[in-house]
């Protein structure tokens, strides 16, 4: 059993897709041990040294091509045609999958579908290559439905493989809020802190933090201790846009935008916060929701994208119309009035989104593509 897993980036970026690639790489590595197979994980843009000292799988199972696209395509087509299963982590790798399928029709091509990259019609070339895939694994039901609707793909060619919690996430500690961190941001222990973790980009303004700011403006009088932490790197244009909005609402002392937060500091930020709110409109799944719930935060998300899967259609948190400030305001007020009743059900969360559950689903979805092992005997 030979598996080739192709990615654009695995270690050299910190986004959701890269996180999925690292976790899936680990799962495939472990499956290769269990089933006595071989897996190779190859990234077009990563350098080899990007994989050094990573915790997910041995660097020996990884190859980084350091942007050498031609070499990547050439070698991966060759390696893929000798593999039983090739997994493409992104639609931009379709060309490689298409070539492999041409050379080796028996090789199964599986494509991961995350979100907006696959929600819209494809050009003629990609549409043609898209048909080489034996299976599309969508990160949410929303993405799956979009694929079927937009690309006319048959349901049996699609399946949902929700993202999962990173198995290396530190265990949620019971310790209280980190006072030094509170102080750093000018918060106090009596404040109720709302949190959003996202890149603040003027080009991708779909995460809904501007709506949350407006909602906080509505809540200020009734809940004077509410504070809002919007964590993540931002571009200047977006910062100006948000500052203007904040000044207009007169809530300068309520909103904090600290910029990029390193992964190792995230646990403290989640632990410091009381509610995670991100009424996004274009979320493929939203790993950050399940991470926030893992750390015990009540969650508010949008109801018109893949976020619904992450919140189990509302079983784990509140879903709101992300365009409607009033709905967001009410949802936040609901939690502020009764924090404990909106705490996520941990058992349900782990049942659906633990790494273990992910591996079990993965095995069910791709296990059938592997040839049965036959132990030849010389007798």
């Amino acid at each position: 059993m030979k598996t080739l897993f192709l990615t654009l980036k695995t270690f050299s970026a910190t986004g959701g897709i890269e996180k999925v690639c690292r976790i899936l790489g680990k799962a495939l590595y472990e499956d290769s041990i269990k089933n006595e197979g071989i897996v190779q994980i190859c990234s077009m843009y990563d350098k080899q040294q990007d994989a050094f000292n990573n915790r997910y799988f041995p660097a020996e199972s990884f190859r980084g091509f350091g942007i050498n696209k031609l070499r990547f395509i050439q070698e991966m087509v060759q390696a893929g045609s000798k593999s039983d299963v090739v997994i493409l982590s992104h639609i931009n790798l379709l060309l490689v999958g298409w070539f492999i399928k041409k050379i080796s029709p028996c090789t199964k091509i599986i494509l991961l579908a995350h979100g907006i990259e696959i929600w819209y019609p494809l050009n003629f070339r990609k549409r043609k290559m898209f048909r080489c895939c034996d299976k599309i694994l969508a990160v949410s039901s929303f993405t799956q439905n979009k694929i079927m609707e937009v690309h006319g793909l048959a349901k049996e060619k699609c399946a949902v493989l929700n993202n999962c919690l990173d198995p290396f996430l530190p265990l949620p500690s019971l310790h209280k809020k980190n006072e030094a961190l509170l102080k750093k941001y000018g918060f106090t222990t009596t404040d109720t802190i709302l949190m959003t973790l996202t890149r603040l980009s003027s080009k991708e303004r779909y995460k809904g933090y501007n709506k949350v700011i407006e909602a906080i403006g509505n809540l200020q009088m009734r809940y004077p201790h509410v504070k809002y932490l919007i964590a993540g790197s931002y571009d200047t244009r977006e910062k100006v846009f948000l500052d203007t909005l904040i000044n207009k609402l007169g809530i300068q002392n309520v909103i904090v935008m600290p910029g990029y937060i390193p992964d190792e500091d995230l646990e403290d930020h989640f632990a410091m916060s009381d509610i995670y709110v991100m009424p996004s409109r274009k979320e493929g799944f939203g790993i950050v929701f399940i991470e926030a719930m893992y750390y015990g935060l009540p969650v508010i998300a949008g109801n018109i994208d893949g976020s619904a899967d992450a919140l189990l259609n509302g079983k784990l948190g509140q879903l709101v119309n992300p365009k409607n400030v009033q709905e967001i305001t009410i949802a936040v007020a609901n939690v502020l009035d009764n924090k404990t009743s909106f705490a996520p059900n941990r058992e349900l969360l782990m049942k659906h989104f633990s790494y273990e559950a992910y591996k079990e689903k993965l095995q069910g979805l791709i296990g059938k593509y592997y040839p049965q092992r036959s132990n030849s005997s010389y007798h």
């Binding site: 041990i33 198995p167 530190p170 030849s376």
Partner: protein, 573 residues
């Protein structure tokens, strides 16, 4: 099953059984830390977790302090209890925090989850078998014979003759396999769900590029590792062969002035094999009690059949370890430090010098490689192995024993059948990103050391109730060695030059500036004189007899003969 492994755990025995979950955990204890009855196993923690543990956790003191700060309570001085408390605190993330050699079964009574766990270097063995209705596990393969429900893996002789051992994940039994190192396998006894996960792994990283920083890192990590490995409440010693690795460990260990420290060596009447003068040169500068044992041919002949019986999985070596462990026991030692790992990490084997050339040959057409066997030249016989892709082909060329043709003759099979078996298992990663000498190191660590040296050390040590510890495989030493740029690590006129440079100020020059002998015996002569071997091989088929004649003529290495003897004694005709 426990009774079949009694030799490795003579101090205590215990069983935990849970009728509700149809679970039984057994344990045989070799007491090294907290010798009191409070170390009895299977051990409980808060009536929720129960463990049967084999090995040592060298960082248990610091973990214990961390856990006490987190509010955990302890009732013993054992490292076993620390594993349980760590699991209660951090769940499966606790496994990566353990530094040491370990294999254990831990059961969570509330969740009904059984965890089988093995250390990152695979020092301690753990074999298991899973069927639809049962899970069985043990430290030795022989334990499975108690259940009498396992069939023999009839392919094992092929691997033995090709490799000189049985490479993981193959075993001599069908459906019994070793737990992969650095992994845990979780089973829920209610639902039957299972999950195998890797909690840590070692990789080559080439992140240390400065020679002086590298030297300092080697010195510091090995010094600390030796200190940690001396942790024991029972008498502990060091195996001293006379080579660099054991010389360094002995010297560093003596620096700790450990009250129990004794050094232990073998020497021979046959001067060409005796390393006594090197052992003497190390010992004379140190403050420790040393024991040197003269191993004679008559003693060897007396015990050779018993050694074969002590063997668990077949191996073409391990006899030396059996004798040195015997003397360790005789001198009252319960644990000994060994230099295993030094050659693999720092380039002490001939394979490091040969791998680049072999890699070049591997690019030749398979047909051309196959022709080599007809050349009549002994060294060319294994050349066809290079048609097996990647590391497997390289290993069998550089380290293998018999050619496929010879194996087929001995086993009465066709060559094609032999090729099919060897191609099928084990599946090894393509190591195309590694520098050639790091590839040799990977191969020596993961194939030779893993399947032969560590197995021999565990089984032959335990045959006398002696625990063998390996400081070179300490977490910090491993990480340091694997992170050094290969251009620095393997540079120099002498083999393991970087290790020599790091410690030459504390080692006599006669030890580091010498030809390598290994930890060897006057084996050829003794096996040639053995009536037992003569009888055993005399009962073999034509190929066995032919090979025995070749051995007597000096045309077959003793370790190759060992594989044939093992086949004979295990009834492979």
């Amino acid at each position: 099953m426990c009774n079949l492994q009694k030799h490795g755990g003579p101090d205590d025995a215990g069983v935990y059984s849970c009728a509700e979950s149809n679970l039984v955990l057994g344990h045989r204890r070799l007491a090294l830390i907290d010798l009191s009855p409070s170390g009895h196993q299977p051990m409980f923690y808060h009536q929720r977790y129960v463990i049967s543990f084999n090995g040592e956790i060298y960082n248990f003191h610091s973990l214990k302090n961390e856990l006490i700060k987190a509010g955990r309570q302890f009732h013993t001085q054992c490292d076993t209890e620390v594993i349980l408390a760590a699991f209660a605190q951090w769940n499966t993330q606790s496994f990566a925090k353990l530094s040491g050699m370990f294999a254990f079964a831990l059961y969570d009574i509330v969740e009904k989850d059984l965890y089988l766990v093995r250390d990152p270097s695979g020092i301690k063995p753990l074999y298991y078998s899973v069927t639809n209705s049962s899970i069985e596990f043990a430290s030795e393969i022989r334990a499975f014979t108690a259940a009498e429900n396992k069939k023999e893996n009839t392919n094992w002789p092929v691997f033995q003759l090709a490799y000189g051992h049985i490479p993981e994940p193959v075993t001599t039994l069908q459906d019994v396999k070793p737990l992969h190192k650095g992994c845990f396998h979780k089973f829920n006894l209610s639902t039957g769900a299972d999950s195998l996960q890797s909690f840590t792994h070692y990789s080559y990283s080439d992140t240390l590029h400065d020679p002086l920083v590298s030297l300092d890192a080697i010195k510091a990590s090995l010094q600390k590792a030796v200190g940690r490995h001396l942790l024991s409440d029972a008498p502990i010693g060091v195996f001293l062969s006379g080579g660099i690795d054991s010389g360094i460990i002995t010297t560093l260990a003596s620096g700790y002035q450990h009250e129990h420290l004794k050094t232990l060596s073998l020497y021979f009447n046959e001067p060409q094999f005796s390393e006594k003068k090197y052992q003497d040169s190390i010992i004379e500068n140190l403050q420790c009690r040393y024991y040197q044992h003269l191993l004679t041919e008559s003693e060897f002949q007396q015990f050779f059949p018993s050694i074969l019986q002590a063997m668990d999985m077949p191996s073409c070596d391990g006899i030396n370890t059996w004798f040195i462990s015997k003397y360790a026991k005789k001198n009252g030692l319960k644990a000994v430090l060994s230099g295993v790992g030094g050659d693999e990490l720092f380039g002490g084997y001939p394979s490091f010098g040969r791998i680049s050339f072999a890699g070049g040959l591997q690019k030749l057409p398979a047909a051309l490689l196959q022709v080599a066997r007809y050349s009549g030249i002994k060294k060319m016989k294994r050349l066809p192995f290079l048609s097996l892709k990647g590391t497997k082909g390289l290993y069998l060329l550089l380290r293998g024993q018999f050619s496929t043709r010879q194996i087929a003759q001995r086993l009465g099979a066709t060559e094609k059948e032999i090729w099919t078996v060897l191609e099928g298992q084990p599946m090894l990663p393509g190591l195309t990103t590694l520098a050639p000498k790091n590839e040799a190191s990977w191969m020596e660590l993961n194939i030779y050391m893993q399947n032969q040296l560590l197995r021999d050390a565990d089984v032959m040590g335990m045959a006398h109730g002696v625990e063998i510890r390996v400081p070179f495989l300490d977490d910090d030493v491993m990480k340091t060695a694997l992170s050094i740029d290969p251009r620095i690590k393997y540079e120099g006129a002498l083999s393991k030059q970087i290790l020599i440079n790091a410690f030459k100020n504390i080692l006599p020059e006669t030890v580091w500036n010498r030809k390598k002998m290994g930890f060897s015996f006057p084996f050829h002569e003794w096996l040639s004189n053995s009536a037992f071997v003569k009888d055993t091989m005399g009962n073999g088929n034509a190929a066995s007899k032919l090979n025995y004649r070749k051995f007597l003529q000096g045309k077959l290495h003793w370790s190759h003969l060992m594989s044939l003897i093992i086949l004979q004694t295990r009834g492979v005709n």
